[in-house]
């Protein structure tokens, strides 16, 4: 696991193909929307591909490892993770 903490998460919608391994890896944080694109589940009930602040995720128990595993599981590298300085953590 990268030492840097995840501060922001994003699904690039133009790349996402809805294959859904991210949803299997992080069911507490992600789901597919009506367009068959992955979205993050936010506290306020919104479902957004992002970029969104990690702190706004609905389930606070989802840890960095899970978010990273979900990103790594994407077969088209559509999931981007950023640290507190806005630097890209993943894809590496």
């Amino acid at each position: 696991m990268a030492a840097r903490k995840i501060a922001k998460v994003e699904v690039k919608r133009d790349l996402c193909i809805g294959a859904s391994p991210c949803v299997i890896a992080a069911p507490g944080a992600m789901e597919l929307d009506a367009d068959n694109k992955a979205v993050y589940k936010l506290k306020d009930g919104q479902r957004l591909s992002g970029p969104v602040e990690r702190a706004l995720l609905e389930d606070p128990t989802v840890d960095d490892d899970t978010l990273l595993t979900a990103a790594q599981s994407c077969p088209v590298k559509a999931i981007y993770l950023y640290d507190e300085e806005g630097k890209q953590i993943f894809p590496e």
Binding site: I24, D33, D35, P75, V76
Partner: protein, 412 residues
């Protein structure tokens, strides 16, 4: 003879995910992956995706592990070699170059291969399958000079390739031997939605006919239909299903059927040998029957389970299988068991082809066991959960059919 604690045959998503999982649980045990392709782990999914095909994302995006990953995790990758012989008593595998590898624990994640097309002329240049990175390289090279294309087979690959060829400016004809697209997994209404989308994009469709021959010199110049009609073309894509390369396992005495037979722990019939991914015909705990399902997410999840089990755990595999493909304004998804409806199975339609939004819920004993969905993505989540929980829906068929009815309300 080289000894390795964990030997993995197959360097795709199931095998690589298993290695990743093992290394997290066992920091020191030697891991060796043997891949019959001359590459490290890449995205097999990406090779048929429009963005990648048209070069809209960098070519390097295809690699899902860096070379350093193998070094840093002490995973020894033997690429471009095939496992030729397995001795379950001596616990050895001999590769096609004669190398002998001893193992403590063996994973067979050998995948499936594109089913070969065997008509006369089917080995001509310009005729392609869509399974490997080398296939992709061949197609992208030939697409540059081709003007007319023929696509054979009505499945996921055929659908994707038609879009790729049209987007590349090729005059494309699809030939399916069935009366409608994806028959018999899809009904005529669903299949015709796909056909309409293809035709709208400019693809010509020949239904209910076989191609009997590919003609030309060294390179393909066209194909001949059973009616005698010729379709000139400079490139052919063949997507007529997949087969598991089972000879190696069969010769070693492992139980096989269409795939490698495994229990719910993904253990094969031989001690210390597991199976995972497209090749695994495993005991599905949700339906209580043996299942084989080729999809990225299934292979990846099985890689996780099998990696954990090889390095000391004992967890059953349990997942509602899912496969999706989209393009040309259509989103097509299969959930759970989508074998064609037969005895003891009910089908409840939800939506309609006319509304361009149409699902078929497949039921057995008043429980949903599978579904095919055309442009009904929002139903995927609730249907998966209804399948997983085996919710009794007796007497609720009219509600299931009503698109205004919220399927989630059945879950509470």
């Amino acid at each position: 003879m080289a000894e390795t604690r964990y030997l993995i045959i197959g360097g795709g998503v199931a095998g690589t995910t298993a290695a990743d999982t093992i290394r997290k649980q066992d920091a020191t045990g030697a891991i060796t992956i043997v891949s019959d392709e001359p590459y490290r782990f890449y995205s097999r999914i990406m090779i048929s995706k429009l963005h990648y095909f048209l070069g809209k994302v960098p070519a390097d995006q295809i690699w899902l592990k860096k070379e350093e990953w193998y070094r840093d995790n002490r995973v020894n990758l033997i690429a471009g070699r095939t496992a030729a012989k397995l001795d379950t008593a001596a616990k050895t595998v001999i590769l096609d170059d004669g190398t002998m590898l001893g193992y403590d624990k063996l994973l067979l994640a050998i995948g499936i291969r594109a089913r070969r097309w065997t008509v006369p002329g089917s080995d001509k240049q310009g005729i392609h399958y869509v399974r490997t990175l080398d296939d992709f390289k061949g197609i992208t090279a030939d697409v540059k000079t081709a003007r007319q294309a023929v696509v054979i087979g009505g499945g996921a690959i055929g659908f994707e390739v038609c879009e790729l060829f049209q987007a590349s400016g090729l005059d494309t004809t699809l030939v399916i031997r069935e009366p409608h697209y994806w028959d018999p997994v899809l009904d005529a209404g669903s299949g015709q939605m796909i056909e309409k989308a293809l035709e709208k994009a400019g693809v010509k469709i020949v239904r209910g006919k076989y191609v009997t021959e590919a003609y030309g010199g060294e390179r393909v110049e066209g194909v001949i239909l059973e009616s005698g009609e010729k379709l000139p073309c400079q490139i052919v894509s063949v997507g007529i299903g997949g087969v598991c390369p089972l000879d190696f396992a069969k010769a070693a005495g492992l139980a096989t059927n269409r795939g490698l037979v495994a229990n719910e722990y993904l253990e094969t019939s031989a001690p210390d040998i597991w199976a995972a991914g497209d090749c695994a015909e495993y005991q599905d705990l949700i339906f209580g029957e043996r299942t084989q399902f080729g999809s990225w997410s299934n292979a990846q999840s099985q890689g996780r389970t099998v990696g954990a089990n090889m390095s000391g755990r004992h967890e059953p595999y349990r997942l509602v299988t899912f496969y999706a493909v989209s393009g040309l304004g259509l989103s097509i998804a299969f959930i759970g068991s989508v074998a064609p409806p037969g005895a003891g199975r009910d089908v409840v339609p939800r939506g309609s082809p006319e509304a361009n939004s149409y699902a078929r819920l497949l039921l057995k004993d008043n429980r949903i066991v599978g579904a095919t969905l055309m442009n009904r993505t929002a139903d995927i989540g609730p249907i998966s959960k209804l399948i997983e929980k085996q919710t009794d829906v007796a007497g609720r068929y009219s509600e299931l059919a009503d698109t205004n009815f919220d399927l989630k309300s059945l879950l509470s």
